[in-house]
Amino acid sequence: MCYRCLFNVSVPIIDVHNLTKSYGAVQAIRGVSFSVEEGEVFGLLGPNGAGKTSTVEILEGLRPPDGGTVSVCGLDPQSSGNTFKQEIGAVLQSTALPDKIRVGEALAMFASFYTRRRETNGLLDRFGLTDKRNAFYSQLSGGQKQRLALAMSLVNEPRVLFLDEPTAGLDPQVRREIYDIIEELKREKKTILLTTHYIEEAERLCDRVAIVDQGQVIAYGTPRDLKQRAAGTSRIELRLLRPESEDTLRALEGVADCRTTDGLYLMHSTRVPQTIVSLVKYLETQGNELSSLEITAPSLEDVFLELTGRRLRD
């Protein structure tokens, strides 16, 4: 008898072990391992090109792995064919529907492919697309297209839902709408594997997160656990009346790192009070002033920065 049965340990619904994948000379995935429990929202967080989409596409059965083992719902995505496809739902990153297909038609067509299917009117209603039932796909806004993609991914009551960058390219308001939908699915205890490069998305939606960089998982745990890794530092965001060099600010007391983007200085400090005092003193000597100052708790961005020395969107 296996140890999981013996000790009543739950079997992960997604199990990835030592996964590798290369495209020519480029090693996209280098020994990725993680597991996802049933009813969990699991996030793969990382910058573009980190290997998130390749990992998800292997889990969806779209690509064969070069090495390692993968199991979804106890099935091998590559060899289980339609049995596997009946169990999953997916929102792919770069996909579309024909321009002249109507919303209702698309949903009904995709529902017809499955043995277990949901009532499409209910899905249209739930995703706020009832008014758009007869609209062509080309007439939908970006947010409506994404809501339709989410609705289509749920037509078969999937056991596992893959959401590959579900909010990429959407404006903040639409992104919040999508967050609300995902949170609703989370309350329903849907198992979701989500990839994102938005920190706030991972922090808000995921029960656990694997931070991925250059094809490897560099950190793994709940957002709270991960943030505790960066607990030694706090984040200070400030704007100045006149610009100062990053190196000068980096030399201030307690400052671990300083970067600037569009006039916004982002500093990480291990001793915030000392840093603020030395900053104010320095600015006085230069005749410079603070325009704004904000001190926040560390985020997953800070964890990534600490682990890689780079920002997520660098």
């Binding site: 779209l62 496809k85 792919l92 996909t95 529907l97 024909p98 297909i101 038609e105 067509m109 492919f113």
Partner: protein
């Protein structure tokens, strides 16, 4: 099978909403019909079946064009990959391409027949059973050729180039626009290696010679073998992903679809009857048409020496300088 039928219905709806499809699949073939029957036949009823055979062949041959473009565009836009995560397989997707193409081309064929019979007073319907079998196999074959083209091209531009080249060859070297017997002998011999020729000659035989499906069994068999091979090969080569490029070995697979026509071409060159029957049907038509329209056409017999097809009676000769 259920998935293929669902996709077929949806793809037919999509096609009917596409203006370009309506133009190229319905309006253009009818324009060809009126042009061929109105200009070339000029009211002479005897020439209608010959020209109708050409127009029907053009309508059927056009199947490969739209189908290959649609599949490649679907792949480029990432539409196919969305189906890949569903239980829909490559076979269902490809079968729906052929089925929707067939069901959408049939009405055009019916309209062309109807117009030829009612407006241009074609004397009879020809051998309808033969026409039906040939039209059905023809559409399936040329649609399957479209699947092969979609399999071996990566972009819509590449598909257009291949389509243009094939279309020009089918158009001018098969007898669909210029009657096979008046083409130079080397083109006639080349034509024996093209599926389009068997479609054109088969249609001429069932419409003019009123022969049944059995009499055109060689043409039907060649089209059927080509359709089967093309479908199987395209299923092997089918690519869902826009970034998955066609491997070199795939082109060799694709080339295997022309094997039945290579074999048939060799057989026809040695023992065949296609050129002779094409000449007979052409001569029969010319003999009935030329005295009234005053044309002077020359068929190239199989030994290569041109032969005057106009009647020799100087009293009937009506092409004065």
């Amino acid at each position: 099978m259920r998935h293929a039928w669902t996709l077929t219905k949806v793809r037919m709806r999509l096609a009917m909403r596409n203006r370009a499809f309506i133009f190229f699949s319905l309006v253009l073939p009818l324009l060809f019909l009126f042009l061929f029957l109105g200009l070339f036949v000029r009211g002479n009823v005897a020439g209608v079946p010959y020209m109708l055979a050409s127009v029907l062949a053009l309508t059927i041959m056009g199947s490969f064009w739209g189908l290959s473009m649609q599949l490649v565009t679907f792949r480029e836009q990432g539409i196919l990959r969305r189906f890949r995560v569903t239980p829909v397989g490559a076979g269902a997707m490809l079968a729906s391409s052929i089925a929707s193409n067939y069901l959408l081309t049939l009405p055009t064929v019916f309209i062309e027949f109807f117009v030829a019979r009612r407006l241009f007073h074609m004397r009879d319907w020809g051998n309808l059973w033969g026409v039906f079998v040939l039209v059905t196999l023809g559409i399936i074959t040329f649609a399957s050729i479209g699947l092969i083209i979609a399999s071996v091209t990566n972009t819509a531009q590449e598909t257009q180039v291949i389509n243009q080249l094939l279309w020009l060859a089918f158009l001018f070297f098969s007898g669909a626009t210029i009657p096979l017997p008046v083409l130079p002998v080397w083109i006639q011999q080349f034509a024996l290696f093209m599926p389009a020729t068997y479609l054109v000659v088969g249609l001429e035989r069932v419409l003019i010679g009123h022969v049944g499906a059995f009499a055109i069994r060689a043409e039907l068999l060649s089209l059927a073998v080509c359709a089967c091979i093309a479908f199987l090969v395209s299923q092997q080569l089918f690519r869902w992903e826009p970034e998955s490029k066609v491997p070199r070995s795939a082109k060799l697979w694709a080339a295997s679809a022309i094997i039945p026509f290579l074999l048939l071409g060799v057989w026809e060159t040695t023992y065949g009857h296609v050129r002779s029957t094409a000449t007979t049907d052409f001569m029969d038509t010319v003999e009935q048409v030329v005295p009234r329209t005053g044309g002077r056409l020359r068929a190239v017999p199989q030994n290569g020496a041109p032969e005057d097809t106009a009647p020799q009676d100087p009293g009937v000769e009506s092409n004065p300088k």
